[in-house]
């Protein structure tokens, strides 16, 4: 299924099973406009990983707009998934891990929602997810995957199949192509057309950008046309649908080289989310009215501390 055409302004558009090509020169929209297009029940790919470059401004806006029944897809994540679950926005979690590692443990809202059955568990594995995104990118219906056979993870995925390889006779797992409805990514910089600069590690962001039906990028800053050097572009403009300026848009995750992660904010979250209290009110206060209110609540002193992330300052900050 593929139709080519042009939009009202004469820019190329294409609707395909994965990325609709969009060459509009200006895709800058407000945060609320960008997120308004994410439907209840959508399959949402979350960029970044663990406590790094999570699309938190977009996640907070999903909470503000009270989205429901989202199906989250990603590799190893943390407070992005946990906040959405606590806000009641999630129906299915298809991630390989959700938590704060040895330091602060399993994400508390995730743990509780899976244990009570409020959210459906479809735990996945990093390389399986990668293969499924690649299948979507390659335009093929499935990919063979090594491993998984023999693991109980199989029970969580009735959609997987097994095949004897017609060439080698090996037993292989087949995983179907996965095209998320929308990918939410946070970048260090982008231009208005949607050329995106990511710092390493990209995790699955580039794969999500090609495999998803729509790509929304929040960015620390929007660069003028021509400011971006060719070698810096990680994701090209034609796969990106919307660009949102969101300073500190990954907080409390890190967005290098701008700022490190905010361990104290994660500690506070784990404490409050473990308490089983009135989480709705807590979340309303936490996500604030909008992003400028969110930043104001954090205070400029704290934000400046996070920007000072050279070795010595980091060490002192983490020791507090």
């Amino acid at each position: 299924m593929c139709s080519r055409g042009a939009n009202a302004l004469g820019h190329a558009t294409r609707e395909s099973s994965t990325v609709p090509v969009d060459t509009s020169p200006d895709k800058v929209v407000s945060l609320s406009e960008a997120v308004a297009g994410v439907a209840d029940g959508a399959v949402v790919a979350l960029g970044g990983g663990l406590s790094s470059r999570l699309p938190m401004a977009l996640v907070r806006e999903l909470c503000r707009q009270q989205r429901r029944d989202l199906h989250l897809v990603g590799s190893a994540h943390g407070i992005d998934v946990d906040l959405l679950i606590a806000a009641g926005a999630v129906g299915v979690v298809e991630e390989s891990y959700v938590g704060f590692e040895q330091d602060l443990g399993v994400a508390p809202a995730y743990r509780s929602a899976i244990e009570t059955g409020a959210v459906e568990l479809r735990e996945t594995c990093c390389a399986t997810l990668l293969a499924q995104l690649r299948a979507a990118e390659y335009g093929i219906p499935f990919m063979p995957v090594r491993g998984v056979l023999g693991s109980t993870i199989l029970q969580l995925h009735p959609e997987y199949r097994e095949l004897e390889c017609p060439f080698t006779g090996e037993r292989l797992l087949l995983a179907p192509a996965l095209s998320p409805d929308v990918a939410l990514l946070h970048a260090v910089a982008a231009d208005a057309a949607g050329n995106v600069v990511l710092p390493k590690p990209y995790v699955l962001d580039v794969r999500f950008a090609y495999a998803s039906r729509r790509v929304i990028v929040s960015t620390e800053r929007i660069l003028e046309p021509g400011q971006l050097k060719l070698d810096e572009v990680t994701i090209p403009h034609f796969v990106v649908g919307a660009v949102v300026e969101a300073p500190y848009g990954a907080h409390p995750a890190s967005c290098y080289p701008d700022y490190s992660y905010d361990r104290r904010a994660l500690q506070d979250w784990v404490k409050v989310a473990s308490s089983n209290g009135r989480l709705r009110n807590v979340i309303e206060a936490l996500v604030a009215e909008d992003e400028s209110a969110y930043r104001a609540a954090l205070g400029s002193a704290r934000l400046e501390e996070l920007r000072a992330w050279d070795a010595r300052d980091r060490l002192l900050d983490l020791m507090q």
Binding site: A76, R111, G117, S151, L156, K200
Partner: protein, 269 residues
């Protein structure tokens, strides 16, 4: 130089000994002891190893310090290269990774590990964090070093995992050969009480820490493992202990241990 060292320091040193020189080695996230072990090995007996950090995929970095989260710039400092997610998992799938570190809330005598859930899929008692890429990589990586710092709980080394996230030598569905997996599977299992080696696909105790009685290991272990009357773990050299302290000034490794284990001290000789 202090005269005493602690169990968490010794544990990292012993884990490092499971690495051979010139191996390509990967640790997952949430693995500070394994992270430290890899940097110890690289700086001592395994200078030619290719060290790949979990979560950043940085190759041979010289971290400022071990941070409490593993997707962090501190672990990329002075790296010779940063692999992409795709490069790392492709290397694993085609068999280029020689060794990986894996842990679990449950580990059975066949080396299967559970990091997904306690209970059953239909009656989940406790949700665990999740397996990351383990259920792919455990099938294809050359050798696995397993570790746990919670052996004494008697809930970790179990007869049978409630849920098999990562693959040992045999799962209820078959052996590695029957399942078509090319990797060698678990080779060693290091715990805060002792060291197991996998012989013919099952865990056999081969060393114990000197302050641990054989009976304590028997009480804490949910499967038969041969005799508990085994040699003691050889003490670590002073310079390795110094390296642990230099690498991990925040003591992130200690987050893996119960307070009781952190109180275990040994005299440096």
């Amino acid at each position: 130089m202090t005269d005493w060292y602690s169990l968490d320091e010794w544990f990292c040193a012993r884990l490092a000994q499971t690495i051979h020189d010139a191996e390509m080695v990967f640790h997952g996230f949430a693995s500070p002891c394994a992270t430290i072990a890899m940097h110890l090995a690289k700086r001592t007996h395994a200078p030619h190893m290719v060290l790949i950090e979990g979560a950043t995929y940085a190759v041979n970095p010289d971290p400022w310090f071990i941070p409490p989260t593993s997707n962090d710039r501190a672990l990329m400092h002075d790296a010779s290269y940063v692999m992409s997610f795709e490069e790392l998992f492709d290397a694993g799938a085609r068999g280029d990774l020689d060794r990986m570190f894996l842990s679990g809330a449950q580990i059975d005598r066949l080396g299967n590990t559970n990091v997904t859930l306690i209970g059953t899929r239909d009656a989940i008692g406790v949700k665990l964090g999740g397996g990351g890429g383990g259920c792919n990589l455990s099938a294809t990586v050359g050798a696995l070093t397993l570790w746990t710092t919670r052996h004494r709980s008697a809930r970790t080394l179990v007869d049978r995992c409630d849920f098999v996230t990562d693959l040992g030598h045999r799962t209820p569905d078959g052996t590695r050969a029957e399942l078509g997996h090319r990797g060698g599977g678990p080779e060693m299992l290091v715990t805060e009480l002792g060291v197991f080696k996998f012989c013919d696909g099952v865990a056999v105790l081969v060393e114990r820490f000197p302050d641990v009685e054989p009976a304590e290991i028997e009480r804490a272990t949910g499967f038969a493992f041969g005799t508990a009357d085994v040699p003691l773990v050889p003490p670590p050299p002073a310079e390795v202990i110094e390296l642990v302290r230099a690498l991990d000034p925040l003591g992130v490794r200690q987050r893996e241990f119960a307070p009781r284990e952190l109180a275990r001290m040994f005299e440096l000789r």
